[in-house]
Symmetry: C2
């Protein structure tokens, strides 16, 4: 197993079992019903290693991700703590309300609260020096988490903490040590990837004796992000202190009323904190609700009303029920730990794109202005370079059409509000980050359209797609449109950009064709062939050309620096990315055998770990195959396209067994907002959407005994594996609704019609099944 | 003459005549009709010395004040350049769109544009080094300004600049040197009181080839102020450059599309500039419109539509007509330069409070949130410590009732949105600055109510007033309410606060009484006596007490430091501030003779200039009398209250002749958003509102031969001076509508009824007129 994890210590410590050991912590009233699907979610998967997931409480696609943070303030290494929490850590900084699940870059961690019994320091202190600050040691033995619920005992601060959430509200329950003053510290300075100068401005405002509102504006991953919040306590605080910790300011302005920190009604500045003292609560718990808004403090207050009562257990139950409902879209029968791994992958697939709209429909768009959503719910956190591949196709199957339409309409609304007039690239909090490459909102929308998803205006959507694909200043597009490829002397990572643009173009063509727009379709079908312009037959690799036409030299197919020919990858990883034209690839490589040989080389290469060690995103290595990063995700399925599905089946077993574990470091790389998990979810079911927009799934092999897809149209699609046994690693026969299926792909409409797909597993490879050219999945050009 | 002006050079150079010398600059089509009132406005009065006025283009109470700035970037002395421009300077930094008129603190100077023919540098450079930057030398001989219009020839930049404005839009007309590229530099870094770190965040966004929008957020006088703008050119630029000049940032985020400054559609950061190149325009002018908004970029764009066309001369004419209309409220007949001084004082009285609302009624309130004005127009820039005295009473007479109602409703709406639940103290851009003392929105509202001003809800208003007067954490009010005075050991400037609170309280009582709220009236009438608690009969001065009850010692009646017993004043200046109870003051001082003697001492004292030299606001000295600051403004009228109006008449002549001039340094101190000018306007007419809320004006003597007040109710009130001659400095008799007026005060209803007030001037003082106790103006307690 090649997971590039920094911590062997963690490998030993993080047995999956520890997670379930504390189910009755605090005698919580909610006890999941026996057999509840949430019981099979290990929310700690990915919280160690390079997974970058968070263990805290959230609802499916919820606006609030309320989770413990363990990072060290002003520690400049953003990558490992991208989700705030690392399983390897032994102290908690506090509990904040916004988190990415599995991102490769970092931000968020907004509205950090930390409770303590008795005294509490105003600065976080250091993990290696207990009691040096407000951070507190904890033990995984005294920690429990499940979908929608998180609990931990803060050892140094002597508080038992429980967290749950509705869509827009995080709910905390604190139990303090009797005889001590119950305190809550709010550190508005703190965030994930928290460097000096990140906070542009902030405000904390008292709203009576139990409520606080405010805002913070940051220059993080997204520039000028304004986050508003409302905090409400279940009982009035006895005293409060509003603190401005900023020093060395040239001009602070005239002092507002209030001589002491306790008199103040409002503070403004760059380094604010607030401290609330509730006195000795004896055994009574303190509850805290927190809502956020991108629009205004009043918006956050109104969002708070989403959760009117103070019944923590009822809220926990509602969160549990919401997850049971969401996870119920796929029923899994599989031995452990596979059942837990797959169920967790479904859980991780339903965290983003997340709701990002106030209750009244207002949201902030990519122009950093406030908009009103009409007839849809605005979602953000679009990690599109990752998620167009398998996450969105998965959500098309397991989420109501309305949710998927919300995604599409959010994308189109964003394009309409974009200063650039283009669709989101990597958007969160409504704002563009310009992270990664491509215009991959395009395949998300095209795939939804091709699958007949209702609820959005195709004309508007196509306009948004072509505007994005034709926006010259973006990523070398002006050259791409002129030359048919992105020239490396004018634009970095030109090879990756060319092949990804070609795929995106193909999805536009597909959609335009279906809409009857022949000229548009023809234009983008032509562009869809552009991957050929960067395929070097001589070496058998995709390479970057210069504007003069020559391939850039010297050429090293293992090179993978930033600014190289490729994006987070090497020629060994990027040369097989024309998922809409794998027959074309077969042709380039001299036939089926050529492709099979090349992909075999990818997996079987003996690669010095030093080759990719400098690229933190290239992880999960099997030879040159890097399961920890997205360019590899479709690669194992490529054998199908060369008529060798049995090789796909073998590679999948190799990947699944080495790259996923039921443990904190159980992901080979960043979960990337659910893409890495969605890969497992699809793969476990036995098929994978290699080319979104094709309405086909390449068939692999199932890793579960039985699964049922409870489809959004009310139909039910069953997957069953006969002779399911670790020793039977190959598919012998496939039957769809009782009829033998001779092809190595499944059509979307076949799934949506409901029915049963039965795999007969066997020990020996079946080299004949799927060999015929007509049996192979879609390709733009003929086999 | 004791004007504390730094520049004797200016005294020599700034003859009033220079202003009119250039009326035909650029052969402008608009030529004021002979006898136009605007001809008698010298907009340069106050632009030198300590006046802090600006010479640029604006409409009455307009949202845009488009004016040249001459200050030096990052030069830390904020006070002298509070309006951006100083007449003493010989180079212009650029033209910006927001300015205070006469403030004692500084901010604004938003959206600075600078044109140049040919090359232009990106940094401003230094006045002493011509061509070191984009700033350009100019000469007053090549400068012309009149209400609503400003023109100058930029010598170094070779551009003739003209400026005019509508309410929300500034309009520039540039004439470039033929044969050179016409350029416009936009420096979004620049502002008035421009120190490193002031810019929190900013954005510039291209909107096609002729329009730019954006925002800037600053921590200036008001914290976290967001200003949005829209700039539109009369023709497309050939090229643009968007620049981010910020250096040394830890994390700049991923790069948005656009490789060069010319490709960029948007920049975000803290130090932005934009450069527009229009190529050689030959002789064609370039016009630029700029609108601002506190709400959003779209709000600024919509505000731009207020001025649909591109006819500069027509816009200039509209601005001219607007000022003719506004100035028409008072017709003045007086010899020059008095006519010009008084007309200019009227002009300066109609610049603030200014409109601060988008065309759709949205505005930003003191909670820094967006609100919708319903049924009124939100105004801001309330310099209330100054303007409650004479400016608001003047505007009640010379502006439509609707405008005054807008002021009141803006104040009440601000209270309702205030995080503190109190009325504005010193508000601009909708935001509170906490500058100066008192709750002087209260007398503004009470005076409006007492005068029967329609258009606001008295119940809501009174609630806002009492909430402000009873807000304990503000300015020692909790102690004031307990002890009957503000104790100096717990709150600085306690003596000034006590006497001002007592006056404000009296105005609440007056209003409550008229509303029939006896309990409220009784409570605040009782508080209105609190000035007595800080009057020390032993020394005959108002002094600060400690919470133990003793007066603070040592006591020096000339002391005036920050944090002393007084606010920008000494005991000699602050001891006569109980304008609602001057009979009480007479009693304290042992009768009429006591008051007369004390006020004579104030004026006649021989004061070493060093005594007040450390306090920049204490200027315009005549003895201890400081006409440059507001606590003195009513003092000359106090003789009326001791039965000696002839002494008031003499002192007024002394003040008017020494403290006002028809020249750039023609104001004795800051104009303070029109208060210093409103003093002259009233005084010139012959009466002054010593105690707003009393519905009375103390009679002084006229400084004009004849004046007509064209009142907002359609009536006309004439003031006439018989035997008007410099040698006749005293009033012999007064007739109201033909009947002798034996009293030294005029009632508001007498003015509003229309009619004629005739003063018969004479050389000798009439010591009998106004001597009788019944003839004296209002006092809360009996004479």
């Amino acid at each position: 197993m090649a997971v590039r994890s920094p911590s062997q210590l963690c490998r030993r410590a993080c047995a999956g079992a520890v997670v379930l050991a504390l189910a009755a912590l605090h005698g919580a009233a909610v006890q999941a019903a026996p057999g509840a699907r949430t019981d099979d979610v290990n929310v700690f998967i990915g919280t160690g290693g390079d997974g970058h997931t968070f263990p805290g409480a959230t609802r499916p696609f919820g606006m609030i991700q309320l989770s413990p943070d363990t990072q060290v303030r002003h520690f400049r290494q953003s990558y490992p703590w991208a989700a705030g929490y690392r399983y390897e850590d032994d102290s908690i900084l506090g509990f904040s309300h916004t988190h990415f699940s599995g991102a490769g870059h970092s931000d968020l961690g907004d509205v950090l609260l930390m409770p303590a019994s008795g005294e509490i320091k105003l600065d976080p202190g250091y993990p290696e020096r207990p009691f040096s600050g407000y951070r507190s040691r904890f033990s995984h033995a005294e920690e429990h988490a499940e979908p929608g619920y998180y609990a931990v005992k803060l050892r140094d601060n002597a508080v038992d903490v429980e967290l749950t959430a509705s869509e827009r509200v995080g709910l905390h329950r604190y139990r303090y040590k009797a005889g001590s003053a119950a305190k809550v510290l709010f550190d508005l300075r703190s965030s994930i990837y928290d460097y000096p100068g990140k906070n542009l401005w902030s405000r904390v405002r008292m709203r009576g004796a139990d409520t606080v509102t405010g805002m913070r504006e940051t220059r993080g991953w997204a520039p000028g992000r304004q986050l508003y919040f409302a905090i409400r306590f279940s009982r009035p605080f006895a005293t409060h202190q509003l603190l401005n910790r900023e020093e060395g300011v040239e001009y602070k302005g005239f002092a507002p009323p209030g001589k002491t920190a306790s008199d103040k009604v409002q503070v403004e500045g760059k380094a604010l904190e607030a401290l609330f003292d509730f006195g000795d609560l004896r055994d009574a718990p303190l509850l805290v609700k927190v809502a956020v808004s991108a629009v205004s403090e009043d918006g956050a207050l109104a969002n708070l009303d989403e959760m009117p009562g103070w019944d923590f257990d009822a809220e926990r139950r509602r969160a549990h029920d919401a997850w049971e409902g969401a996870l119920g879209a796929v029923e899994i029968e599989a031995p452990q730990p596979m059942k837990r791994m797959v169920t967790t992958s479904l859980y991780h697939s339903m965290l983003a794109p997340s709701l990002f709209m106030d209750r009244d429909g207002r949201y902030r768009g990519p122009d950093n202005a406030v908009h009103q959503a009409e007839g849809f719910r605005f979602h953000s956190t679009f990690s599109l370079w990752d998620t167009y591949r398998a996450l969105h196709p998965l959500l098309t199957l397991i989420q109501p059409a309305q949710r998927n339409a919300d995604f599409v309409r959010s994308l189109v609304a964003s394009q309409q509000a974009s200063p650039y007039g283009i669709l989101p690239v990597w958007q969160f909090a409504g704002l563009e980050t310009w992270c990664m490459i491509g215009y991959h909102a395009v395949p998300v929308i095209a795939d939804a359209y091709m699958k007949g998803l209702p609820g959005f205006d195709a004309e508007e959507a196509l306009k948004a797609m072509t505007a994005s694909a034709d926006y010259g200043p973006y990523g070398g597009l002006e050259h791409y449109m002129k030359l048919g490829y992105v020239p490396i002397d004018l634009e970095p990572e030109a090879a990756s950009k060319t092949v990804e643009y070609a795929f995106d173009d193909w999805t536009i063509a597909r959609m335009a064709e279906k809409m009857g727009k022949k000229a548009v379709a023809a234009k983008y079908y032509a562009r869809a062939k552009n991957w050929r312009n960067v395929f070097d037959r001589a070496t058998g690799f995709v390479r970057a050309r210069k504007s003069s036409g020559e391939f850039r030299t010297p050429f090293d197919p293992t090179q993978s620096n930033f600014g190289s020919d490729y994006t987070e990858g090497s020629a060994w990883q990027y040369s097989w990315y024309m998922p809409h034209d794998n027959a074309g690839l077969v042709g380039m490589l001299g036939g089926d055998a050529g492709l099979v040989a090349k992909i075999d080389q990818v997996f079987d290469a003996r690669v010095d770990p030093a080759v990719y060690a400098h690229m933190e995103d290239i992880s999960g290595l099997i030879g040159h195959y890097a399961h920890g990063n997205e360019p590899s995700h479709h690669v194992a399925y490529l054998y199908d396209y060369a008529g060798a599905p049995y090789k796909t089946q073998a590679r999948l077993a190799q990947i699944v067994s080495s790259q996923y574990r039921d443990a904190p470091d159980g992901l080979a790389g960043n979960d990337d907002l659910g893409q890495t998990s969605a890969w497992l979810a699809f793969t476990a079911l036995g098929f994978y959407p290699v080319a979104p927009g094709s309405n086909e799934y390449a068939i692999g092999r199932p890793f579960v005994q039985r699964a049922a897809l409870n489809l959004p149209n009310g139909k039910r699609f069953i997957i069953r594996a006969e002779h399911f046994d670790p020793s039977n690693g190959y598919v012998g026969a496939v039957r769809l609704n009782g009829q033998p299926l001779a092809r190595s792909f499944l059509r979307h409409d076949e799934i949506m019609a409901g029915g049963e797909l039965v795999f007969t597993m066997q020990a020996a490879p079946d080299t004949a099944w799927g060999k015929d050219k007509s049996a192979r999945p879609y390709s733009m050009t003929a086999y």
